[in-house]
């Protein structure tokens, strides 16, 4: 069943190949622009929590499981296997972290979570690659099995333990933090001044240094590592070729099944690591149902990020921010955020005019105006709206930027060995 649905009459524009340097420069420019904008909005509205170190730190913690699931999805889909089962693999990861973390310590917890997630990936690979089962069907089934299995095993593992119960593990050991705490106080003081730009930079710095877990750093390293392996090594070229055109890859001697297996199993391991992060870092133990659909958000982040590591990271940070702001319950920042969104929409709309896409420009302009009206007319926003923000944004991005998105050409298609002819 096809997942790739090219829009009829609108051929997908090939992404222009830019030198890596200029692309990086563009990303930095975007980031700076957003930074200045947020700072400006903060000063204008007085919603200081919008980029306080606490809010940004919470956003980072919320973003890590999303980005791990997201680059997990990337490994799988770049090898041509759609992975709806990320959620289930993440659930397996939380359980693995709970069991191995409690009995054998932090490192075993992380490795055990990856192993459990990879096991889920292996099942997905066997079903989709060897047996040619539809990818979505297999993923849905894995999610059902994983949720049941985790609940069942949790009861078996944790029931009798002190501090544990049938639905949760005892408190687990926590991975260590980087020794950067000495920066926290001076940066905090600077942040308290609420100066334009300077205090924002201080809170940003504080967010990434204060009590930052090694696993957070590991996740960021894994994003970079994924980008390097998939786009700058021969192995990655072969893995991606399997996702783009398996028959061409096979005719050149690539073992298609092997690369698909590797992609899907690594995908499961990364989603499992995301689960471990939830159980070990974001919370202090395993709990039934603690993933709460983060696997799906990871999938959304990957799509939003156009099946690329950096894009996935940016999307995950964005989604993590909306999730965390939701939990902090700071309706002020939510409200101020409306202004940020309105301005961003208008700016992108103007860019669309320059790019001669009047329809999109008009739509974005109207949307921006609506957000502006929403900002002016109200003074608080229900937290339910931020909860759904990642999903709505992904849907909107898919709707309006479908031509800019390019998924692997053979993503979701079943390939049988030897059909290259």
């Amino acid at each position: 069943m096809s997942v790739a649905v090219p829009v009829s009459g609108q051929p997908q524009a090939p992404v222009p190949d830019e030198p890596t340097g200029s692309r990086a420069a563009r990303w930095v420019a975007y980031a700076l622009a957003i930074f200045v904008l947020v700072s400006l909005v903060r000063v204008l509205t007085g919603a200081d929590d919008i980029d306080s170190a606490g809010a940004l730190r919470a956003a980072l913690i919320a973003a890590v499981p999303i980005v791990l699931a997201g680059i997990g999805g990337l490994w799988s889909e770049r090898a041509g296997v759609v992975n709806i089962g990320l959620e289930g693999m993440m659930i397996m990861g939380t359980l693995g972290a709970g069991y191995f973390g409690y009995h054998y310590g932090v490192v075993a917890g992380l490795l055990g979570a990856m192993a459990f997630g990879a096991l889920g990936g292996l099942v997905h690979a066997i079903a989709t690659v060897t047996f040619g089962v539809d990818h979505i069907v297999s993923g849905v089934a894995i999610n059902i099995v994983a949720a049941g299995l985790a609940a069942f095993l949790a009861k078996a593992f944790f029931s009798g333990l002190e501090g544990g119960g049938p639905t949760q593990s005892p408190p687990l050991p926590r991975p260590v933090n980087l020794p950067l705490a000495f920066l926290a106080d001076p940066l905090g003081e600077l942040e308290e001044k609420h100066w334009f730009l300077v205090s924002d930079a201080a809170s940003l710095l504080r967010a990434v240094t204060d009590r930052i877990s090694v696993v957070t750093v590991l996740a960021l390293v894994l994003v970079a590592f994924t980008g390097w392996v998939l786009w700058h090594t021969g192995f990655g070229l072969r893995l991606r070729s399997v996702g783009e055109s398996p028959s061409a890859a096979e005719s050149l001697g690539v073992d298609v099944y092997r690369y698909k297996y590797i992609g899907v199993v690594v995908s499961g391991a990364l989603a499992g690591l995301g689960g471990a992060y939830l159980a070990l870092v974001a919370a202090s133990g395993y709990q039934n149902g603690m993933t709460q659909g983060l696997g799906y958000i990871g999938l959304a982040a990957m799509i939003f990020g156009n099946w690329r590591p950096l894009g996935t990271l940016v999307a995950a940070l964005l989604f993590g921010y909306t999730q965390s702001i939701n939990l902090r319950g700071s309706t002020d920042s939510l409200h101020a955020l409306l202004l940020v969104i309105a301005v961003v929409l208008v700016i992108v709309g103007v860019l669309m005019v320059v790019r001669r896409a009047p329809r999109n420009a008009a739509l974005l302009g109207v949307a921006g105006l609506l957000f502006l009206i929403w900002f002016v007319a109200t003074d608080s926003v229900s937290s339910k709206f931020t909860g759904m923000a990642p999903y709505v944004t992904t849907l909107l991005v898919l709707t309006f930027a479908a031509q800019q998105l390019r998924m692997p050409a053979a993503d979701g298609q079943t390939y049988r060995k030897g059909s290259a002819g």
Partner: protein
Amino acid sequence: MNRAGNWVGGLLMVLAAPVLALVLSGIIASVLLLATGYSVGDFWSILLTAPSERQVVNILNYGAILYLSGVAAAIGFRMNLFNIGVEGQYRIGAFAGAVFAGSGWLTGPLNTIVAILIAMVSAALWAGIAGFLRVTRGVSEVISTIMLNAIAGYLVGYFLRKLGEQSGNATSTKDVPESSWVGGIDILKGSGQELLGLSLFAVVVGVLYWLVLNKTVFGFNLRATGGSETAAVASGVDVKRMVVVSMLLSGAVAGLIGMPVLFGDAHNYGSSFQTGIGFAGIAVALLGRNNPVGIALGALIFSYLHEQANNLNILAGISPDIVQVTQGVIVLCVVVAYEVARRVRVRIEQASVAAALETRRSERTEVPA
């Protein structure tokens, strides 16, 4: 091979896969129980104990709901449309229906009928978003329905808090006035449990599904599109229209899922309204190969397991979650088994065609004189 032999062989092939899947998942569940130190004997003896009359009625009630959910998913599956969003559509529909029925603008059966229509329409429109995005913007319905599921959860939560009533810890919509309730049917006297009146929707929907699929042009086009989209386009099927219409139909059926419980049992939509039925429906549809009778069997099997799970916990202390594992494994095994069976069939067909060609050629070379 004669026709009758073919037919029997085909039936065996069709049945072999699900039976194999059931056996395999039974083995996996047993291994899992052994590994975690539960009694495998208890598990099987409880699972295979004939259900009490009360349980039979429960199985039928839950089976009917699962059946509706299964048909909702199957309508899309028949034309290779992956409506993962039954869950969200069902919630939107049930909530909209409950709000309307509870508001008491109408009374009596009229209220019930209009509320059911509202549930169907709102669920259909919710599904229609995915269909619309697919045909106008090329957005994969898999992704959009996953997103719409999550959005539906938040939306319903938001409006439940806004429009609902607080009672203790739970929030729910206003109760449906008693005049609009739909009574139960006492099919097993003395069981103390009644079949929910609107469970009969399952029968109606099942018959309609079969009729539309097999006896109408629309149904033919639907199956043709599912079989080969390019062939369907070539023979003049408007695939875009088919996508939107089948999403709408799928959603409309999803809107019915909540109705039996809403009007027969709970009388409101609250935070305790059962979730996960949409995904179970997908599983049931896969188990029954999107066939009206097959889905019914699948729904009854799932419902039976679901009902027996309570006893597992009460009588043997076995976590009922094992049943969900079993259900998931059944689905995984059955799709693998179907795929293997399909490959075997293709190979047999290829071999028989090759053999037929071979004999014809040899006949031709033998006869020239």
